[in-house]
């Protein structure tokens, strides 16, 4: 039974990797191999030409991931009796997903092009936009090329690693970016296991579909910010300077963790309380500030999953349940665009409904159950 579950998951991941190449930008040439080009051509035909079918495939993949996640969260201890097997399984999953195409976002291309502006063209990305180098070939598939660098200087420095390892080959660069993401993800998983000493917490984070999709497939950089923020919070009591430094690095990657700064100065507060405050402070940014600035992006929920994974599961049932349902609902936000091919029109309303309905159902069910127990 265990082997069937393993095989099912690995097969599912391989399907995701293959399907993700259907989202390849038409202006992007990844390879000169005629065999691969013909496969990409067929996949992109499904995604861009048969949108309802593509959406259906994506829903099936999502349901597949979620069903595995539920099984793992409920029976993880039975499925992974040996911690080494689990570690190998997580590493293998991360490795497989690193080879996927960043299907659901264009942000990775923005990182890649910004890195090229900085390290190849030798321009300060905070004062020169990619579009100001009109003969840059990456402009053909980079969105938001008319913006200055959006993230902090530490992030720009980090991008030097995949940029140089990419060797000016776009496919190789994408893979390098994602392999680095996979390493950070694995470090985070290890940190959760090391601190909580709980297999359930580790599994909760490691197999969460939103974490897998947004970190390992789409390649968002939120995990870097959260790794340094959480590490800073963890060591803050013992190593004040090092903790604050790690926290500063986090802010200089992506500024969202800046809201947690007051927590550095509060005395007589337990690590658990810090985490709960962090969760709600980041939730405040997630639910209020981010939608005002642009919109509720699914990958911002990575912040909340990262924080909640350190909390004792039995004590914070509502928080865990809410985060799980939220991550499920947020991944549904990809569907309207996938189906219609544009963001406007009924898109915003559909995205709102797809997010709010599962959360509302969860809250109602939770309180009805609680009432039932009392009666």
């Amino acid at each position: 039974m265990r082997r069937i579950v393993y095989a099912y998951y690995i097969l599912l991941l391989l399907c995701i990797v293959i399907f993700s190449y259907g989202f390849k930008d038409p202006n992007l040439t990844l390879t000169s191999s005629p065999f691969l080009i013909s496969i990409f051509h067929q996949l992109t035909y499904v995604v861009y030409g048969l949108r309802p079918l593509a959406t259906l495939i994506f829903i099936s993949i999502l349901l597949g991931l979620w069903s595995f996640y539920i099984v793992v969260c409920k029976n993880g201890e039975k499925l992974f009796t040996n911690i080494k097997h689990l570690a190998f399984f997580i590493i293998l999953s991360a490795f497989i997903l690193s080879f996927s195409y960043p299907a659901l976002t264009h942000d990775l291309f923005n990182y890649v092009t910004t890195a090229k502006v900085t390290f190849t063209h030798g321009e300060n990305p905070y004062v020169v936009m990619p579009i100001e180098i009109p003969n840059e070939p990456y402009l053909a598939f980079t969105r938001a090329a008319n913006k200055y660098a959006l993230y902090g200087p530490i992030w720009i420095l980090i991008t030097a690693i995949p940029h140089y390892l990419g060797n000016n080959n776009i496919w190789q660069t994408i893979i390098m970016f994602k392999l680095l993401n996979a390493i950070i993800y694995l470090v985070f998983v290890y940190m959760i296991y090391k601190i909580t000493k709980s297999l359930k917490n580790t599994l909760f984070f490691a197999f969460n579909p939103l974490i897998l999709i947004e970190t390992l497939i789409s390649g968002h950089n939120d995990i870097y910010m959260m790794l340094f923020a959480c590490f800073g919070l963890v060591i803050l009591k013992q190593y004040k300077f090092l903790g604050a430094l790690s926290f500063l690095v986090s802010v200089l990657i992506k500024g969202a963790t800046f809201v947690l700064t007051p927590l550095l100065f509060i005395k007589n507060i337990s690590f658990e309380q810090i985490l709960v405050f962090s969760y709600w402070l980041l939730a405040l940014i997630f639910f209020i500030a981010a939608p005002i600035r642009e919109e509720l992006y699914p990958w911002y929920a990575v912040w909340l999953v990262c924080i909640v994974s350190f909390l004792p599961m039995k004590k914070y049932v509502l928080l865990y349940g809410f985060t799980t349902v939220l991550t499920f609902a947020l991944e549904l936000r990809h569907l309207p665009y996938m189906w219609m091919g544009y963001y406007e029109g009924p898109g915003p309303t559909l995205r709102f409904l797809l997010t709010i309905i599962p959360i509302a159902i969860y809250i109602v069910v939770f309180f009805v159950k609680r009432l039932g127990k009392r009666i």
Binding site: H121, G122, E123, N124, Y126, V127, V128, E132, I133, P134, N135
Partner: protein, 165 residues
């Protein structure tokens, strides 16, 4: 009547080229202001921030614009000594644009748009400089310090030449 209709249709059919003019900035802090020296220091610091060929072109162009506007305002208020100093600074910044444009070109960056902006800026600068009304020669006699001869028209002519090169 037919001619008018024909001309009207022709006017509608001809493509209209919409072009944004090069806009010089508003005057910044002027000499005498408490934070003027700070802004000058910040201007110098920014040089380190604007690394890269294109960034350097933008940096020197921005400063050249800024000091030109400063010079214009000072000349209008008959502060000739300060105005002349700002004009020289503007020209010095202008001179430094060309080498960075060449460097960007040598580094195989498409500078066509940047070059167009540079040319528009040169025209805007020349227009401003041409509109300045100043005496030919001015003996600037400060209360404390030695008098200075200011060859304002000559300096402006030099500045125009620099932009036209």
């Amino acid at each position: 009547m037919k001619k008018i209709i024909f001309l009207f249709i022709l006017y509608l059919m001809l493509p209209i080229v919409a072009r944004a003019e090069y806009v010089l900035p508003y005057p910044s802090f002027m000499p005498g202001n408490k934070i003027y020296k700070i802004t000058r220091f910040v201007d110098k610091l920014k040089n380190y921030w604007f690394w890269g060929d294109i960034a350097q072109v933008k940096y020197h162009l921005t400063l050249s614009d800024k000091y030109l506007v400063e010079a214009k305002v000072l000349f209008e208020y008959k502060q000739y000594l300060l105005g002349d100093d700002a004009l020289v600074r503007s020209s010095n910044e202008w001179i430094q644009i060309q080498p960075h444009l060449s460097l960007a070109k040598n580094h195989k960056k498409d500078i066509s748009k940047l070059l167009a902006t540079y040319k528009e800026a040169a025209q805007a600068h020349t227009d401003v400089l041409g509109s300045l009304i100043v005496p030919e020669l001015m003996l600037w006699n400060p209360e404390k310090g030695t008098p200075t001869n200011l060859y304002l028209k000559e300096d402006i002519a030099k500045a125009i030449d620099t932009r036209k090169q």
